[in-house]
């Protein structure tokens, strides 16, 4: 039994997976770095194995350069000039080219002989939020209503006439990157983790609210070319702050679940929000908790993936659950165990059964 993980070796995601393999007593997986994979003339060759896990290419600048360059070539464009730039940590740029590059390499990897834990096509379907919405809809998962694409500020202005609050999301962004909570009243404001420096955007851990029209336009202008759309803003349930859930679904079953409590409209855990007491919540609101897990399982059924991480919100009365997003690499939930097993152990355990 040969297992390969494609990832960034320095990343803790890879470490957790290797730990899981050790725990389960399977032969040590082969680690293929994204960099090697991207630079190899026939990547399927070096990734070949009985079981293949594709992990996140994120948090590595060299990999980012390769992916964006690949995306540019795929589009017939020259590699973008920014490759000569410095890392410029946290910069939000080239989301579209990055996705095109990612798609290109994943397409190549489909030639691998082995069995994928999550096939490339499914990873792509989750990464493209518009495509993911379609998958969710076909699976029958409840979602916030789609309001429209935003190609320019005019589109946002038009939407704002009918909707006083909405969430604006980049089509190809990962996690909370570039997500904006928009309100048109009592004054027009955008709450986001995006930090505007001149005309450049950065991911920040701090949540900011932009009130000036010029800054709002600068942010929309910078994000729109890479794909931007608006969704209804579901009034989330609150307990010590608004909250939602990340539900890890493995083999069609909702397992590790984290409650994310926030004082801002953005509940992503990376943004310094707290984890809520999931056991206490489950005990107090068993029906609501079941609705959350059910919604996650339905969303996951829209993809042929062994695992995924589904973000689910409850509306304020906690009667109904809504799927916000499904994440291909949504299993990074350190220190959350079910029967003593983390998400990585459960993933591998299930994969070995197949």
């Amino acid at each position: 039994m040969k297992i390969t993980i494609i990832g960034n070796p320095e990343n803790r995601r890879v470490t957790y997976f290797m730990d899981a393999a050790r725990r389960l007593g399977v032969p040590t997986p082969q680690v293929v770095s994204w960099l090697d994979c991207l630079r190899h003339p026939s990547p399927a060759q070096i990734c070949d194995a009985d079981l293949i896990r594709i992990d996140s290419p994120g948090e590595n600048f060299e990999v980012e350069v390769e992916l964006v360059g690949r995306g540019a070539r795929r589009q017939g464009a020259l590699p973008p000039s920014w490759t000569s730039e410095t890392e410029d940590r946290g910069s939000i740029r080239n989301q579209r080219l990055w996705f095109d590059g990612f798609k290109d390499i994943l397409d190549e990897l489909t030639q691998c002989r082995g069995h994928f834990m999550t096939p490339p096509s499914e990873i792509l379907a989750m990464f493209d939020k518009i495509q993911a919405r379609e998958r969710h809809r076909n699976a029958g998962a409840p979602m916030p209503g789609f309001l429209g694409d935003i190609d320019a500020m005019d589109d946002l202005d038009a939407l704002a006439k009918d909707h006083q609050r909405m969430f604006i999301k980049p089509r190809f962004g990962s996690s909370a990157s570039g997500v904006i909570a928009f309100r048109s009243r009592p004054r027009r404001q955008m709450t986001t983790s995006v930090e505007l420096q001149g005309t450049r955007l950065y991911n920040s851990l701090k949540i900011r609210t932009y009130i000036e029209a010029s800054k709002q336009s600068a942010i929309i202008d910078a994000l729109a070319p890479d794909g931007l759309f608006a969704e209804e803003w579901i009034p989330k349930a609150s307990r010590g702050g608004a909250f939602d859930f990340r539900v890890f679904v493995v083999a069609g079953k909702a397992e590790h679940t984290v409650m994310r409590v926030s004082q801002s409209p953005l509940t992503n855990l990376h943004l310094g929000n707290q984890r809520g007491d999931i056991e206490a919540f489950q005990a107090a609101k068993p029906c609501a908790f079941r609705a959350v897990q059910d919604a996650a399982v339905i969303a996951a059924s829209g993809f042929s993936a062994l695992t995924c991480g589904v973000d689910v919100a409850l509306e304020a009365t906690m009667k109904r659950a809504y799927v916000l997003e499904t994440n291909a690499f949504g299993d990074l939930l350190p220190n959350v165990f079910i029967d003593g097993k983390d998400t990585y152990t459960r993933s591998l355990e299930e994969a070995l059964k197949r």
Binding site: P235, S238, E315, A316
Partner: protein, 398 residues
């Protein structure tokens, strides 16, 4: 910041969202919340109508109204539905209009209407609470039953403060106003609030909360007692008197003439050369000035003694709400050492049972000093007190 959570408890009972399919199962066991829901077409006023038609509706003692419109309509339809069923609801003892979190609708964006008629239409109401200052009015409130009035806002308009001051609530024990910020509709200054601080309107008041305020410092300072002159030792001849505020019994011109006839000089403004300030009702900036200069203050009653007249109908000026209350709550605002010092040095504060100052901009030293007071003091949730005063925010505004 915004309001984080919906009510879990109200009027001593657990709050539960009303389920039309189930109807009223526990009319007095829980408190039902009626609100509209995302993805649900039943409006809040429809829910009120359905609730009122339930045979057990007239047993309900407390009710919570949550969000009525996700796109920002005002509360008038909700109020109309409640008024339409006032016979059914006449047993209501507690009512909250606007249990709405920031996720549902920001506090400053909640649109209210005149809730005065609603309060007056419910003869057994003891607890009335509402959230949202925009569009809010509380016209002509008159009730001998009401004990608790809570108005939560991100910015309370002057008009509402005036409505509250004009209300006739002889049995009010708990008055709580979230004043909020100028950005969201608060316009009052400390002088506008003075009638509220005089303690005259509500003889049974035990709790006063002026919360979430950008002028918390000024409020704290305003409790400082004026230097009360001893009328028996006042010398009139050759002294400079300044009259301020509204005199209830005396004609101001005649009073001034009477003082002058006794050899006094009448000053137009308070300064170091002023000997006495005569303060009528709603004495404003002159009172502040007199306090800061330590100038003795006389009441209208005192003045009548000095110039000779019937004093039986006159109460003392400079009365303070501290005479009646046991709990003072200035929490959630921008209180700093400046205002806290005035509380610390005010001996009357020590006669309270509790001083609630949580969420504040005081220094560690000041917190320490306040904790040493012989009463219960809450100074939790300290904000960054070294922050530029311009960047100090109240707890709830948006």
């Amino acid at each position: 910041m915004t309001v984080g959570d919906n009510l879990e408890e109200f009027y001593g009972k657990v709050v539960e969202d009303f389920d039309i399919a189930k109807g009223i199962e526990k009319p007095t066991g829980v408190v039902y919340r009626l609100r509209c829901e995302y993805d649900d077409e039943v409006t809040t006023h429809d829910r009120i109508q359905k609730f009122a038609r339930d045979p057990k509706a007239n047993q309900v003692k407390a009710l919570v109204i949550g969000i009525w419109d996700f796109e920002g309509g005002d509360s008038s339809e909700v109020v109309a539905a409640l008024l339409q069923n006032k016979e059914t609801f006449k047993g209501l003892e507690a009512l909250m209009i606007g249990d709405i979190t920031g996720e549902e609708n920001e506090i400053s964006w909640i649109e209210q209407c005149d809730l005065g008629p609603l309060v007056n239409a419910l003869p057994n109401l003891e607890h009335f609470q509402c959230r949202g200052g925009t569009g809010l009015e509380l016209k002509g409130i008159k009730s001998s039953k009401l004990k608790t009035l809570i108005v939560e806002s991100g910015g309370l308009p002057n008009e509402v403060i005036r409505d509250v001051m004009k209300s006739e609530l002889p049995n009010l024990e708990h008055l709580e106003l979230w004043l909020g910020t100028e950005d969201y509709g608060f316009q009052a200054n400390i002088h506008d609030l003075r009638p509220l601080l005089s303690g005259k309107n509500w003889p049974k008041l035990r709790y006063l909360g002026l919360r979430d305020s950008t002028i918390a410092d000024a409020i704290a300072k305003s409790f400082m007692a004026a230097e009360k002159a001893d009328v028996g030792s006042v010398q009139v001849e050759g002294k400079t008197f300044v009259l301020t505020g509204k005199l209830l019994q005396l004609d101001r011109k005649k009073a001034e003439a009477a003082l002058e006839a006794k050899g006094a000089k009448i000053g137009g403004s308070v300064s170091k050369t002023t000997d006495y300030l005569v303060a009528g009702e709603k004495a404003g900036s002159k009172m502040e000035k007199a306090k800061s200069l330590g100038i003795p203050v006389l009441s209208e009653g005192d003045l009548m003694v000095l110039i000779g007249g019937d004093t039986s109908n006159v109460s003392d000026a400079g009365g303070s709400v501290l005479d009646t209350i046991k709990v003072l709550d200035l929490s959630m605002g921008t209180l700093s050492d400046d205002g806290a010092k005035a509380l610390l040095n005010n001996p009357r504060i020590r006669e309270l049972d509790k001083l609630d100052l949580h969420y504040h901009y005081m220094s560690d030293e000041m917190m320490e000093a306040l904790r040493a007071l012989p009463i219960q003091v809450d100074v939790s949730d300290q904000q960054d007190f070294e922050e530029d005063p311009e960047d100090r925010y109240v707890a709830v505004s948006e």
